[in-house]
Symmetry: C2
Subunit: 158 residues, 2 copies
Amino acid sequence: MTEKPIQHHYADEYAHCYGCGRLNDHGLQIKSYVDGDETVCHFTPGHKYSGGFPGFLYGGMIASLMDCHGAATAWAAMAGMEPLPLSRFVTASLKIDYRAPTPINIEIEIRGKVSQIKGLKVVVDLTLSAGGKLYAEGSAVMVQIPIDKKGREDGDKP
Amino acid sequence: MTEKPIQHHYADEYAHCYGCGRLNDHGLQIKSYVDGDETVCHFTPGHKYSGGFPGFLYGGMIASLMDCHGAATAWAAMAGMEPLPLSRFVTASLKIDYRAPTPINIEIEIRGKVSQIKGLKVVVDLTLSAGGKLYAEGSAVMVQIPIDKKGREDGDKP
């Protein structure tokens, strides 16, 4: 497993994500690592991230972890093919199948593996497990942002 | 539009969700309402919920809003068919297509509409827009939990 988190390679201007931005002091600051031909992220959600029933994780957190880890997986895959600096990825689509209620207050492992790269698009397969048991799996389509556009292709301004 | 949020009908034991639980003091406490044959939720995410670029919303929040609002939409649809009290819904699957970078610090509208009900399963179509513009759309498959099981069908304990 690499020693430096993938997110720590992101340029400062891309490092503000609530889920994974190292410069977002209010966020989750999850960290993803390259592990052979996969990527891995460990995170232990606390009690407040309960779903409807205390003791289980809410679905939005599972989606958030998969989304950010998926983006990091795409970044790492493309970083192996292009010279740095590399622009960030944004999510084009995200699909999650929730297999069983996910416990909280234990370490969760999210794994990603690239299944397709086509131009700026990277498809990442994702799993979320804890204690060796699979709780959710999914797929994310990530798109790399051309370095000078920063997601504002359509004229939107913050 | 109904005056009482759908989530305020949930039994106390199901009201701890980080996204929508009225009893989770640390959570987002989003509120969904019935609006004709649809449901609607308004939420204004603050600056800290930035995506990678400041000024845009992170994808995990979009997923969280759609997930919780989808569960509420399913609940409301089933509540129209069954006598209360009604058990909660959990997410079986969630699919989101991100159409454009979503701004923060403005009011977002999430709308849900049931497209299928089969036994305990409810399929909900979802949109997320702001200022009349569509930013994301998706679909959630929600499953009602039998009243005495609380998601622990497979022997998991918190």
